[in-house]
């Protein structure tokens, strides 16, 4: 019972009522004819739009496409970023001969890859993945490298004292010590992957939620545009919550840093 009371207490009631009030005001202003924006739909129309795309199955198709691209692209960026980050974190020579190249490539805006990806792959899923993976790689790589470099030297000495092999040192000492940093990078990269998937779908691959927003805008269906915007925002919130929740459950020790990094 106290569990449930605490939950009730934790819910931000003023915050929720502010949102409700804002919607109510928006609806009333439109109904009364005060706001003269031609293409601004009322919240009730947006809710209707959401029901419409949910009922037709379009929302599910579009969401699944975007979700799949985000997860595949993020997964690839994670694997590549962690491997490269580990190598760079361990080897000073490698850092010396690569770091400047990374610093030049890293600030490149992700969207700049879209035209090249279109050139190489046309309007396809590969194009979308290229636009997601290249920019989403950097946060993982940089955070993994930094975390490995931050592992205390004494920990390695301990490993050697126990005569652990290199593989064991990697698995039992380095990875656990670097984990919080890696997770921070993974979270930043997930947010970025969603943004880039939407961008790639807007300018390139004609599928998914990003394309749906542009499609409905060109079809002059404002209520559907807003419905998709709500759906995209919700997807962002859900992805983020699932990741932080999973981390808190799987690696409780590492989850504090993750929340701070938000």
């Amino acid at each position: 019972m106290p569990e449930r009371r605490r939950l009730l207490h934790r819910i931000n009631w003023p915050g929720l009522s502010t949102i409700a009030l804002a919607f109510l005001l928006w609806e009333m202003l439109l109904r009364a004819g005060f706001a003269q924006y031609q293409n601004l739909p009322a919240p009730s129309a947006i809710a209707g739009g959401l029901v419409e795309i949910a009922a037709s199955g379009q929302l599910l198709t579009d969401t699944l496409h975007t979700l799949r691209s985000v997860l595949v692209g993020w997964g690839a960026a994670l694997v590549a970023g962690i491997v490269l980050g580990l190598l760079l974190g361990v080897s000073r020579t490698l850092r010396r001969y690569c770091l400047a190249s990374i610093e030049v490539l890293r600030p490149m805006p992700g969207i700049a890859f879209a035209p090249v990806a279109l050139l190489l792959f046309g309007f396809s899923l590969q194009m979308e993945l290229m636009v997601i993976i290249l920019p989403a790689l950097w946060p993982v790589l940089i955070n993994t490298m930094g975390a490995v470099m931050g592992v205390h030297a004494r920990l390695f000495e301990v490993g050697r004292t126990f005569r652990l092999s290199r593989g064991e040192i990697l698995r039992k000492i380095m990875l656990p010590a670097a984990l919080p940093g890696v997770l921070v990078g993974a979270r930043l990269s997930l947010t970025l992957a969603l943004v880039l998937a939407i961008v790639a779908e807007m300018v390139g691959n004609p599928a998914g939620l990003g394309y749906a927003v542009v499609r409905e805008q060109q079809a002059m269906r404002p209520e559907l545009v807003f419905a998709y915007v709500v759906a995209i925002g919700a997807l962002g919130v859900i992805l983020n919550e699932v990741l932080t929740g999973a981390v808190a459950r799987l690696f409780p020790a590492a989850s504090g840093r993750l929340r701070e990094a938000a």
């Binding site: 502010t18 190249s101 700049a112 879209a114 090249v116 807007m202 300018v203 542009v214 805008q217 545009v225």
Partner: protein, 266 residues
């Protein structure tokens, strides 16, 4: 001529930043890649034109497409949008953060606004405002606003209440309180917010140009791609990369100077 203290501070900051850059031999892999590319595929190609072709394409763009004007338009939109986002974000963030009740009431709404990926604002703004420079600026401001606003608000909430009490007993005016107590205390958080906002603002600036063909580098990129001018596409990719690099490093210098002027308090 004697350089002013401010000038010296900037020069000093520039020097420390240059010294902290990774060694230049780290550029080796990038240079090797470009040289190998040029040797294997130096001529024109629909997919992988050699780097020498990119250079030729840059020159052609310069003569034919008014590259400088496009760069100017993109840079102006980005800088104006970012500046407005900083001013608005700081002002609104302080207003939200100064009252605990207001902060708690607005938090979920603001968090949801931040959760919406900024590129989505482009079609929405097209719908509501239509094509034009006003719309271009609006979406860039909106893309950078939320991280700055939320960082400012949370920093204001973390100011020691004692400091505000002191301001009260000294009967400082609202303006003095803002200038002497609140702003100095939130500077480090503001800088973090701006650092998050910069790449978002660049992406949205380029995206809005790509989607609406308003003049700028984004429009040039998408047109080159549609005309299958592959060397132009690569040339513009390099130019945009340089733009990102310069913006990033300039901000690091600015950040260093500001942090030295207002060091974070513990």
């Amino acid at each position: 001529m004697r350089s002013s203290p401010t000038g010296r501070r900037w020069a000093g900051q520039l020097r420390t930043m240059l010294a902290s850059l990774p060694p230049a031999r780290g550029l080796l892999p990038l240079v090797l890649l470009l040289v190998a590319w040029q040797l294997i595929q130096g001529g024109p190609s629909p997919y992988f034109p050699g780097p020498a072709q990119w250079w030729k394409a840059t020159e052609a763009l310069f003569d034919r497409e008014h590259l400088l004007a496009a760069f100017g338009a993109t840079t102006a939109t980005f800088l104006e949008g970012l500046a407005l986002a900083i001013v608005l974000g700081t002002a609104l963030g302080v207003l939200v953060g100064i009252s605990r009740a207001a902060a708690r009431a607005l938090q979920p709404l603001l968090e949801f606004m931040r959760a919406i990926p900024p590129p989505v604002t482009v079609p929405v703004a097209t719908l509501l405002i239509g094509y034009g420079t006003g719309m271009k600026l609006t979406v860039v401001v909106l893309s950078g606003l939320w991280p700055i606003l939320l960082n400012a608000a949370s920093a204001v909430r973390q100011i020691d209440p004692l400091l505000l009490d002191v301001a009260h007993s000294f009967r400082l005016t609202a303006w003095q309180r803002m200038n002497r107590i609140i702003l100095p205390a939130i500077v480090p958080s503001l800088l973090i917010g701006i650092r998050i906002a910069i790449p978002l603002a660049i992406v949205v600036t380029l995206l809005v140009e790509m989607l609406t063909s308003l003049p700028g580098i984004g429009a040039l990129m998408i047109r080159s791609q549609r005309n299958y001018q592959s060397s132009e596409v690569y040339a513009l990719l390099v130019l945009v990369g340089l733009f990102g690099f310069v913006v990033n490093d300039l901000f690091a210098v600015v950040e260093g100077v500001i942090m030295r002027r207002w060091p974070p308090r513990e």
